[in-house]
């Protein structure tokens, strides 16, 4: 089986990109990833895109290929909500492993913030991940679905409201050091706890912003010019779509996806030296960190507040995550993977993690902890 490497990455700033549409933003990230990999368009034989809520299209991959000037022999537009970016990379890895394709461009982006209708349109569209007649009629939103999870978490682990606020504060602090982050205004725990309620118990500071932006990676059978980062393992799990159908709230599928990824990689949680975990809400990060085995149950926020992911610890969402770098849809989840890759290649500049970063783990979920994708990354120096 051919090994798959991350040969190049491209990430635009997240935030407002007035006047830029989906294809413009995808183009910027794709060009940056090609430049990073030192490749020309003609060398790309596979293309994987996601979807764009700002530019819904039946054939986004082919549309982008035409626009950008690619003639790939394989193209696919994939949809798994927030898990899409990681799933696109997993698909690219499988395409490389098949031996039939050598260089797959993975790209997503959209102007979710500045598109016509803006936030209101996005909130309405995103709410449709709920069940059409068992959930959506009740007026729940995406923050509402995650707030349901949060209410149960806070009930089971009393006194953790402040711990969730610590997660928002930590992501903000990391974003302040990251060029291109959407939210960089100083944020204290008190600010977070005093921010307005969006869907109680979740407050504004618990929610990621809606952003414009794009991200791209080249997945290749050969390492790129910046150091070999291999996709050593990938796993998925899909146990439900709707939160009302998730009956085992200790196992939403995150652990299953992680187990499958680590099994393929032949590596263990203990080997991980850098983390990129989906954080659409503070509760998302808490529950995913805990279910994937990187924090004890009920302790994720406390662990973050105690500095477990700062100097000397295992870095986590070094770019500031969805919570502060921002969230333009599919590209949002790809930013974690891109910054973990840069950390592992030791080219994060002033933000470079001190440790070696030989093994990374990236996890994304789509829907309401519905679709899970875990990716284990390894440098040449990694144990297995």
């Amino acid at each position: 089986m051919t090994a798959a490497y991350i040969a190049g990455v491209g990430l635009t700033p997240f935030g407002r990109h007035d006047g830029a549409d989906t294809l413009d933003l995808m183009t910027r990230a794709a060009q940056a990833a090609l430049d990073d990999a030192g490749l020309e368009r003609a060398q790309i034989d596979g293309l994987v895109t996601g979807y764009s809520t700002a530019m819904p299209h039946l054939m986004l991959a082919t549309l982008f290929a035409e626009h950008f000037g690619l003639r790939p022999s394989y193209a696919n537009g994939l949809q798994l909500g927030g898990a899409t970016g990681a799933a696109m990379v997993m698909l690219a890895k499988l395409l490389i492993a098949s031996g039939q394709y050598s260089r797959v461009l993975v790209v997503a982006g959209e102007n979710r913030l500045t598109t016509e209708g803006g936030r209101d349109q996005a909130i309405r569209t995103l709410a449709q991940v709920g069940h059409a007649f068992h959930e959506v009629p009740f007026g729940a939103t995406i923050p509402g679905y995650y707030a349901l999870l949060a209410s149960q978490y806070l009930g089971r682990h009393p006194g953790t409201e402040r711990d969730l606020a610590e997660i928002a504060v930590f992501m903000r602090r990391q974003a302040q050091a990251m060029p291109g982050a959407h939210l960089t205004a100083p944020l204290t725990v008190e600010d977070a706890l005093a921010s307005r309620l969006v869907a109680a118990p979740l407050r504004l500071a618990d929610c990621c912003p809606i952003s414009d932006g794009a991200a791209a990676l080249v997945i290749s059978a050969a390492p790129g010019p910046h150091g070999a980062v291999r996709i050593a393992g990938a796993g998925q799990a899909h146990r439900h779509q709707h939160v009302s159908m998730a009956t085992d709230w200790h196992n939403f599928g995150a652990a299953d996806a992680a187990d499958r990824a680590f099994a393929e990689a032949g590596l263990a949680r203990e080997d991980v030296e850098v983390l990129g975990i989906y954080d659409s809400f503070t509760i998302t990060l808490a529950m995913l960190l805990e279910e994937t085995g990187f924090a004890p149950r009920g302790q994720a926020g406390r662990q973050i507040a105690a500095g477990a992911h700062e100097a000397g610890g295992v870095p986590l969402n070094t770019h500031g995550g969805l919570l502060s770098y921002g969230h333009p849809g599919v590209a949002g989840g790809m930013a974690h993977l891109i910054d973990v890759t840069r950390q592992m290649q030791r080219r994060a500049g002033p933000r470079q993690m001190p440790g070696p970063g030989r093994v990374g783990y990236v996890h994304a979920d789509g829907g309401v902890l519905s679709a899970h994708v875990g990716l284990v990354l390894a440098t040449e120096g990694a144990a297995a």
Binding site: R124, H131, F133, H134, P137, F138, G139, S151, Q152, L202
Partner: protein, 121 residues
């Protein structure tokens, strides 16, 4: 599926909850389907929930998805495990923390089922 959706919608409009029950294996399911998810037997029966259950989760929505809902902000949404088994989403009135016993408000709210806490005693 259309006739199943209609059946659910008719109960919902009265503020009630219709769920499916499999006469073969006894499985109950809130999400209407043409078959039993446990034993795959076709055409489960319909039952009407007694309207009591235990709260699993609760949120108060301050940001609405549509204009209709915007005028009702803030409003409660809850997940309740019905005493008959199925888990359902519904509107909520009052303090419905997880673990609270809940009962349907007669007639519903906004033509939707709505739970409130079971009165003490």
């Amino acid at each position: 599926m259309k006739h199943l959706e209609t059946h659910v919608a008719q109960a919902t409009a009265r503020g009630e909850i219709a769920y499916q029950h499999c006469p073969a294996c006894g499985h109950t399911q809130a999400q209407a389907r043409p078959f039993c998810l446990a034993c795959l037997r076709p055409d489960p029966d319909w039952r009407l929930a007694r309207g009591t259950g235990t709260v699993v989760a609760h949120t108060m929505q301050y940001r609405a998805p549509t204009d209709d809902w915007r005028s009702r902000v803030p409003y409660g949404v809850t997940l309740v495990d019905l005493d008959e088994g199925p888990r359902v989403m519904a509107l909520a009135e009052g303090a419905l923390n997880p673990g609270t016993r809940a009962i349907l408000c007669p007639g519903g709210r906004h033509a939707l089922p709505c739970f409130k806490p079971v009165e003490d005693g």
